[in-house]
């Protein structure tokens, strides 16, 4: 026969544990976070715990770098060069088949390694990130912007090429570690090429 009322003590213990974790694994646990002007803008620690209230929408919790919302296409900030070569790998590998691409063709009818059109049906997208994993050109990445609701989907939830294009600077801002690794690889490739 168990002691009456021990469940109250168990509940209090859980509450106390959450309270302590707010300080040790919430406020205190900031390892690897990217800060700007003293505020965390990108979280690296996804095990953030504790009972911290964020006054959304006036306040926004900084997003973890690994967050996947919708795909975006990257263009180089310096010259606007669209990295996508319309190879179609992302469209092939997409599980719900939400991507469709039209390859650009030159005046002689030959394929040019650029997309003429690029559509993503964002309501079909399952946010898996396979497109970004399989892209050999770092041309498609997952965005963090999630405030996307609207009253209809035909016009506002089917994104075309211009809607999808974001600059490499934006990509570097929301994926700082991945950006650093990509740039290092790119620099290495360029060095080998010029050697």
């Amino acid at each position: 026969m168990s002691l009456q009322g021990t469940f109250i003590l168990k509940g209090l213990a859980i509450t106390f544990k959450h309270f302590i974790r707010s300080y040790t694994k919430g406020f205190g646990h900031q390892a690897g976070n990217i800060k700007e002007n003293g505020h965390t803008v990108v979280r690296q620690d996804h095990t953030h715990q504790g009972m911290i209230t964020v006054q959304y929408p006036e306040e926004h919790l900084p997003q973890p770098e690994r967050l996947r919302v919708l795909p975006v296409l990257i263009y180089d900030e310096a010259d606007g060069n669209v990295r996508c070569t319309s190879c179609g790998i992302c469209a092939k590998v997409c599980p719900p088949q939400c991507i469709w691409i039209v390859q650009a063709k030159g005046p002689d009818g030959k394929v040019v390694t650029k997309p003429q059109e690029f559509f993503i049906d964002t309501d079909v997208c399952m946010n898996c990130g396979f497109c970004t994993e399989f892209c050999p050109f770092d041309a498609i990445k997952m965005d963090h912007h999630f405030e996307l609701s609207n009253y209809e989907r035909e016009k506002s939830h089917i994104y075309n090429l211009q809607d999808l294009l974001v600059s490499s600077e934006y990509h570097g801002k929301i994926h700082p570690l991945a950006w650093k690794a990509e740039e290092a690889k790119r620099a290495e490739k360029t060095a080998v090429k010029h050697a």
Binding site: V72, Y75, E77, A78, D79, G80, N81, V82, A104, K105, G106, P107, D108, V112, K114, Q116, D143, H144, H145, L148, N150, K155, S156, I158, Y159, N160, L161, Q162, D163, L164, L165, V166, S167, E169, Y170
Partner: protein, 134 residues
Amino acid sequence: MMPSAIFAELRLGPCVIKDPDRRQSVSADLAAATASLEALKAKAGAEVKDDPAVTLMAYAVMYQSARAFVHAAGYHITNFRALLSALNELYVKTGKLDTALVEGLEKSQEVGSGTSTFIVQAEQWLNKAKELTR
């Protein structure tokens, strides 16, 4: 990025940043566009044929000039739809820029025919951008 041509809506998103300090980078943008135009003219040669590589170079000049326009207005924009919308709202509607030039910037991405037109437009873009800083 929500498909919207309305700049007022796009301004609320993460890709349009009000940054008055960007005005200082206009001269660097123009220098980049000028260098790109010189490279374009060297590649195109005297007799211009339809060539996707040359069209893309013309697109680079237009893009860098467009960036100068947007920086001059005190914005930093990291989405192409927002860039086009900002140009329409801030410059086309006020008569400082032609609609045809903004359409040329968009169409030149498609690298179809019309290389000679895009080269002319690229030069017009740069000239208009230089007028901003006078």
